[in-house]
Subunit: 342 residues, 2 copies
DNA sequence: GTTGGGTGTCAAAGCGCTTTGAAATTTCTG
DNA sequence: CAGAAATTTCAAAGCGCTTTGACACCCAAC
């Protein structure tokens, strides 16, 4: 069933039917009713490709999904997508996901944009001096960045959380509890958020004249396994750290296992603060020792970014170009006063 | 830059350029070279919407993502998508994801299909007597189902794992170890895999004249939290089960916490076998007591389904319509002989 | 020297929609 | 009740691509 058939069925021109469907004022209410009725009966749906060709708009947001054999999928990706989707469904938008080798993301993004398949772009997993920014600017297509790119002029539309502030505050709390030996379990070091979190820790420590040694930092994929390995390394250091900052609750899971296996007690021998993206599968309050966290909902960020993107496409703006969300520091039982020097 | 401009630039007709680009034989090799060279220089990309309108093909796979405020995202979704993507990127296919309220999936699927935006469909989260199957059959668009629908004639193209066999085997192992009191922590009970896993357990028990009591079964979202709650319930039963079957490693995480909190030892007081979808974030071999699992890679399933889908669209078939993958039973330390009756 | 079969190229139609500019119809005004 | 204004409908062009059918050209064959 296409427009032509439908209009013949109704004895109207395609123009009138199209206008009736798209809410134009210059069509009789009675006619509109008839058209709507016929649509219901026939199940007619406009062909999106044709619509897009004619209007240049397609009601879709494009994003690149890094993937390759051996490339680990990321829990956070799904959660964020759920947020985007929650908003998209309200506006009848959909997503076009272009899978791409992680090494080929700039090109994949360009292909996606030029393909004419999408109205707006979303990008994430930002790196320091991210080469995608220049590409996006040259594109004249709306986009929003999740995160920022350390070292690049912050003149692009983004939504980010205050990673530096979060880890600064967390570190301060641990300092106030008397800790002096710190370690940081971070995400991959080329990623922007990892850089900023490290800086947050370092600057809080610097205020007390402390430094973060190289061997008290780990940069790795944020999995259970890497958490375990990193913590095992920390625990074997001659000057064992007592305060651990951790970039993810998933990673914290492995870290805590290492603490337990070493016969140490969380919240007493070792204090730990993890960043919580509010993943439904893993709640920090349900850990056997509930986790102190810096919290910011990834999903909420997804909803907001979708709002901005869709709003821009629909000219519903203006939206703020830059948003920086504060995180919450939620104190639970995994943090406690520094143990007495033994 | 579009075809017309490109052809004018080259002094050729659109036809010739189009043919050169699409590898048709009736074009001079020298001409083809010239065209390819120009494409490289100008960065020309064909407009996908126009291509799709002209050919009816778009190089895309459609899927519906259930989402709504309050609807929990699912770790497995991201992992599966990574598998789909891994294969799709090899064929320059992309995905169109239509977010939909979980209650509206049939309609969303229909919209997606009729929109003309996709060449093939993929569906998952199958339920018993799933209403989407009838819809898909009426659609004349290729599709592959991940999972099956209990109670429906198995005459649709699917890829599933042998859930019943997996849990049957796991139960048999525990029976051989002398266990007699069983409990099952399952996924939501309307889902097909949950039904089949339960049946697997029940039939293995029946062979020994045992039954699975109602209070030894839990059906819930497969999260850490639900695992904790379910296990706590089991442990408070007057006749405490000693053998637990669990539908997910994420759920097992919470379950194990409950076991520890009760002062019991995994692999001694309580034996546990979980189903492992091979999620990169959570490896059963790294648990403090390594987990005995039934294993089947979700990601591999994604790759395979993408193969079938893309192959069908490209007429590269034929593919088997029904595939049932066996799972592996991998014995680690979380299972042991039934404790002596105290 | 005509016929026949490749080979390389082209103009034009068509995919299903939106939108422009004009025409037909109805309604209002003096 | 004529003429203007407003309302409703329409035919046709255009979005960027693929594909059909035709055309010109060249070389081998009779």
């Amino acid at each position: 069933m296409n427009l032509k058939q439908l209009s013949e069925l109704l004895g109207l021109s395609q123009t009138t039917v199209s206008r009736a469907l798209n809410g134009y004022p210059e069509v009789n209410e009675a006619t509109r009713e008839r058209v709507l009725q016929a649509v219901k009966e026939t199940g007619y749906r406009p062909n999106k490709a044709a619509q897009r060709l004619a209007t240049g708009k397609a009601g879709s947001i494009g994003l690149v999904m890094p993937t390759a054999p051996g490339h680990q999928s990321d829990v956070h990706f799904g959660e964020f997508l759920a947020g985007l989707g929650e908003e998209a469904v309200r506006h009848d938008f959909h997503f076009v996901i272009m899978p791409s080798d992680p090494d080929d993301e700039v090109a994949a993004l360009r292909r996606l944009a030029i393909s004419g398949n999408v109205d707006a772009l979303f990008i994430a997993y930002m790196r320091g001096h991210d080469p995608r920014l220049a590409m996006l600017k040259s594109l004249s297509m709306p986009y929003v960045v999740h995160g920022r790119s350390f070292g690049a002029e912050p003149d692009y539309p983004y939504l980010d959380i205050d990673n530096e502030g979060a880890f600064y505050d967390a570190t301060r709390l641990l300092l106030q509890l008397g800790h002096t030996r710190f370690a940081l379990m971070n995400g991959p070091m080329h990623l922007d958020f990892a850089i900023r979190r490290r800086n947050g820790v370092i600057s809080a420590l610097a205020e007390r004249g402390l430094t973060l040694e190289e061997d008290c930092m780990s940069h790795a994929l944020m999995t259970d396994e890497q958490g375990l390995l990193a913590m095992e390394r920390f625990l074997q250091l001659p000057e064992r750290p007592t305060a651990i900052l951790c970039s993810s609750t998933v990673m914290a899971l492995g870290a805590i296992r290492a603490v337990n296996q070493a016969g140490l007690r969380l919240g007493e021998d070792i204090s730990l603060i993890a960043h919580d993206d509010v993943l439904p599968l893993l709640k920090p309050e349900n850990f056997s020792v509930p986790l102190t966290t810096t919290r910011s909902s990834l999903r909420a960020a997804g909803v907001r970014i979708a709002q901005r993107l869709i709003g821009t496409v629909k000219q519903a703006g203006p939206f703020p170009e830059q948003e920086l969300w504060k995180t919450e520091l939620i104190v639970r039982a995994s943090t406690g006063p520094a143990p007495q020097q033994s």
